[in-house]
């Protein structure tokens, strides 16, 4: 590796390199996840790593955090070549990771979680509660990470939990912080305060690397952006020199339709296809999750359900999708009262449901595409000739669906878990659309998908609405509900706190409603 390359990168600036990755290549079997990637991040900067799913962002950071070892290439931290052979080695070298899915023990306190697994060099403080709590308090004050060290994790909000994750890496004296899609679970306001924290950590001489495929947050917080595509680094640019559109083009490799308002699909005279009246329902823990939910949906309408994760949207989706029982209230589909918690009856009333949890609820991950296509209709013709499943028919039917919905997979017998996120969602949507639904309940249909797949899913939804299907779109992505929906209902603590017009809704109002302010 050529040392001059650093000088070129930092020429004319006073930046000190913190992370340098040269010619990193990583293969998984035949798949090249990273192909000669160069990545450089400096001391004191917030550096965004932008790319679609499968672009190689996670693989690259996993090598920085010691989870994988590169097949080729070199990693230097603070100009010293290192081999990060394990996460522990990475921590020792000053690299800390905040995962998208928090790794916390719910029944432990904040302080206990923070010290859990501390390595030998910190062992001095290991069991001294007061010292730990003092250190935690000190750190949280310095970086505005407001959280009570004595509280138990289960008592905390999602935003607070993320702060605990940040404290965990800070107490390990990480000078390089890697965050994997940190805003996925936050309200816009919480995200803003996270950005303030990230900025202050960078100002303190740390290096913040954050993975994202959300353009607005990349432009909002980062100093520089490295764009990955198909396992290669496409460009590293100063954030100040670009806008969302140019970043999107770099990420996808072509111009994308962006922030397209879909327009209204409701015909003025259309009948309500779904009416929920005063629905109360319990969550998984038998505590009330939904309170007095009333809403109506007309044919061809897209009704958005917005809210911060954990405010009852998932449960509402399950009720409307027919898999959760209700305690009181009524749900009518086209004037017919439904038996709640009976998914077969809901399917008969032509209610389709795309759950948020695609792999595990919507689809059985180890079963084949064909088996998954049969999931909701395996009982009767044409899928079955009782007691047998018509395997040959199913295979050709699946083949046909795959070509119609452009699912890329070796064949109908491929296990679902081997498909990419976008193709997984296509299989799920294809199956639900094929039932010719009157009502379609979709939860977070684009979460985790890349820009191309998001476009695809959204246009499928719009097509369905144009055909007269009423769609309930549950999403935490405010841009998505604003772009797609005719009306937006906002949920807070199991209630609908308001319904606003999709056309006129602005982020701030929605954000405040999501936070419970009315």
């Amino acid at each position: 590796m050529n040392p001059e390359s650093i000088d070129v990168l930092t020429a004319g600036t006073n930046l000190v390199p913190a992370v340098e990755m040269f010619g990193i290549t990583k293969r998984f079997g035949d798949v090249v996840a990273n192909d000669g990637v160069n990545f450089h991040a400096c001391v004191g900067e917030v550096h965004a790593l932008l790319g679609e799913n499968g672009a190689g962002k996670s693989t690259l950071t996993n090598m920085l955090t010691g989870i994988y070892q590169p097949d080729a290439g070199e990693i230097r931290l603070y100009e010293k070549p290192l081999r990060l052979t394990s996460p522990r080695a990475a921590i020792a070298a000053g690299v800390g990771m905040v995962h998208q899915h928090f790794k916390l023990v719910p029944t432990f306190t904040v302080a206990e979680n923070v010290v859990l697994g501390l390595s030998a060099e910190h062992r001095g403080v290991k069991f001294r509660r007061a010292a730990i709590e003092r250190r935690v308090a000190e750190l949280s004050e310095r970086y505005q990470l407001a959280v009570d060290p004595a509280k138990k994790i289960w008592q905390l909000s999602v935003g607070e939990r993320q702060r605990v994750e940040l404290l965990k890496v800070l107490i390990r004296e990480a000078r390089i912080l890697v965050l994997d899609e940190p805003t996925a679970v936050l309200t816009p306001q919480e995200a803003d305060s996270l950005f303030v924290t990230l900025r202050s950590m960078a100002d303190d001489g740390r290096t913040v690397i954050f993975i994202s495929h959300k353009l607005y947050e990349v432009t909002a917080v980062s100093d520089r952006v490295t764009v990955l595509r198909d396992g290669r680094n496409i460009a590293t640019v100063d954030t100040a020199d670009c806008d969302q559109r140019s970043l999107a083009a770099l990420m996808v490799g072509r111009d994308v339709q962006f922030d397209r308002r879909v327009g209204t699909h409701v015909r003025g005279d259309s009948e309500p296809v779904l009416i929920a009246a005063n629905v109360d329902a319990d969550g998984d823990d038998d505590r009330g999750a939904l309170h007095a939910i009333s809403l109506s949906l007309r044919a061809g309408e897209i009704l958005g359900i917005a809210g911060v994760a954990g405010n009852g949207q998932r449960e509402l989706g399950e009720v409307l999708g027919g898999i959760r029982r209700i305690r009181s209230g009524n749900i009518d589909v086209c004037g017919k009262q439904q038996t709640c918690g009976d998914p077969v009856a809901f399917a008969k009333s032509r209610v389709a449901y795309v759950p948020e949890d695609r792999l595990g609820t919507g689809l059985a991950p180890s079963l084949s595409i064909a088996d998954n296509v049969a999931l909701r209709s395996f009982r009767a013709a044409p899928f079955a000739r009782p007691p047998f499943i018509r395997r040959r028919w199913l295979r050709s039917h699946t083949q046909e669906l795959m070509s119609r919905y452009d699912v890329k997979a070796p064949g109908p017998e491929t296990p679902i878990r081997k498909l990419s996120g976008g193709n997984i969602q296509k299989v799920l949507l294809a199956r639900e659309f094929e039932s010719d639904p009157l009502v379609l309940v979709v939860a977070s249909p684009t979460r985790g998908l890349d820009v191309g797949a998001i476009e695809n899913v959204r246009s499928l939804l719009v097509t369905a609405a144009e055909r007269g299907t009423g769609i309930v779109l549950i999403s935490e992505d405010l841009d998505e509900v604003r772009a797609m929906c005719d009306r937006i209902a906002v949920m807070y603590e199991g209630r609908i706190v308001g319904i606003v017009d999709g056309e006129s809704a602005d982020v701030n109002t929605l954000g405040l409603m999501m936070a419970g302010a009315t």
Partner: protein, 395 residues
């Protein structure tokens, strides 16, 4: 310096699924040969003898099938349940109860035509086995009791129950006349209640073995091509998806456990009808068919058809083992050879899912302190930190 690490394979190629068990068998043979040589036995001679005494000598294959029959049934018992992630390790007890039910019917219908008696015994065995399994199913369903614990406990209970019937009571099953008055033993079935041994290609085949093969095929089709099998697959893979599809997991779980128990029960019926012609608690408990069945199912990768072949293989090994052991060839050695074979073939499973990666640790040759590390954890403790850095400084 090299380090060895295990890396998860992204997918397992087809040839590897065949090659790995073959390789496992080869390794087992080599290790076994070393053991034999070390204990002063002929290596190839012993292997040749196993082959002859277990499979190829005239007449031995019939003995092998006799040994294979109960293993076929208990293998199916385990395979069906494990397919759905229900860990029924109660094949043992379900087989005992099946034997108990079947001998009751066999003793009672002793004078009826053979067809009627045999069919009734099979049915009785199935009912007995599935009732016993249903106890665990109810406990699991109602009280969320772990079926591993309950089925295991029920094994002991079933063992005590059949012992009681023969040794501690004057039950219907116990012979009270003749030698039976002196030594506790079960009543013998009448001639008519003993199952036939049709000759196929000159080898007498236990009727139970034929029944077992039929069930293996039936279960294979059931799991592969029917709606029931589909439900089982979905529940096994993703319980939440099953709920979403409106599949009644409770009912299916119940059915699977009952079917699983029924197989063991028929195994018990076959033990009475085919071989012992009496309820023999001591013999049944010593045989440990239920537990061996778990191994059979595992080696057969829970495939009912494969279970047939593995059962024959295990039966042959058992037969050969019995023939081999003697004053200069201890039974323990036979068991060790068998164990090696199982260990190596099952151990090889890991290789099908993980690959071994050997990495050269550049620049650390002079640092004798850094241990050759197969675990990434130990490589990372701060005291060894120098070992982490590779050469090429300044590259």
């Amino acid at each position: 310096m090299r380090s060895i690490a295990f890396e998860r394979r992204t997918n397992t190629p087809k040839w590897l699924r065949i090659a790995v068990p073959m390789f496992g068998i080869a390794i087992a043979l080599v290790l076994g040969a070393m053991l034999l040589a070390w204990t002063g036995h002929a290596t190839t001679g012993t292997y040749r003898q196993i082959l002859h005494r277990g499979f190829t000598d005239p007449g031995t294959f019939a003995t092998t099938l006799v040994a294979a029959t109960p293993l076929l049934f208990t293998g199916l018992t385990a395979a069906i349940a494990y397919r759905m992630g229900v860990f029924n390790i109660g094949g043992e007890g379900q087989l005992f109860i099946g034997a108990m039910f079947a001998s009751f019917v066999g003793l009672g219908l002793g004078s009826a035509p053979t067809v009627v008696v045999v069919a009734s015994m099979i049915l009785a065995g199935a009912v007995g086995g599935s009732l016993w399994a249903s106890i665990a199913a109810v406990l699991r369903d109602r009280f969320r009791c772990n079926e591993i614990i309950t089925t295991l406990m029920l094994n002991y209970l079933a063992g005590i129950l059949i012992q009681y019937l023969i040794f501690s009571s004057h039950s219907y099953w116990r012979e009270l006349t003749g030698t039976g008055a002196l030594f506790p033993q079960g009543r013998m079935l009448s001639e008519r209640a003993q199952w036939p041994n049709p000759h196929i290609g000159g080898t007498p085949v236990p009727f139970g073995f034929i029944v077992g093969i039929s069930f293996a095929v039936l279960i294979f089709v059931l799991l592969r091509s029917t709606r029931f099998g589909y439900r089982v697959r979905v529940i096994a893979d993703a319980p939440a998806a099953a709920k979403y599809a409106g599949i009644n997991a409770r009912r299916t779980t119940f059915a699977v456990l009952a079917l699983s128990g029924a197989m063991a029960g028929i195994g018990g019926a076959s033990d009475v009808g085919d071989f012992r012609h009496t309820l023999d608690p001591k013999g049944l408990q010593q045989a440990g068919y239920g537990y061996t069945g778990i191994v059979v199912a595992a080696l057969g990768r829970l495939n009912p058809i494969a279970v047939v072949f593995v059962a024959i293989l295990m039966g042959g090994l058992n037969t050969a083992g019995l023939a081999l052991q003697g004053p200069d060839f201890p039974a323990g050695l036979v068991g060790t050879l068998q164990g090696l074979l199982l260990f190596c073939t099952l151990g090889g499973e890991g290789l099908a899912r993980y690959r071994i990666v050997i990495r050269r640790r550049a620049g650390s040759a002079s640092r004798s302190a850094a241990p050759r590390s197969s675990s990434p954890r130990s490589a990372a403790s701060p005291t060894e930190a120098p070992g982490l850095a590779t050469g090429e400084v300044g590259g």
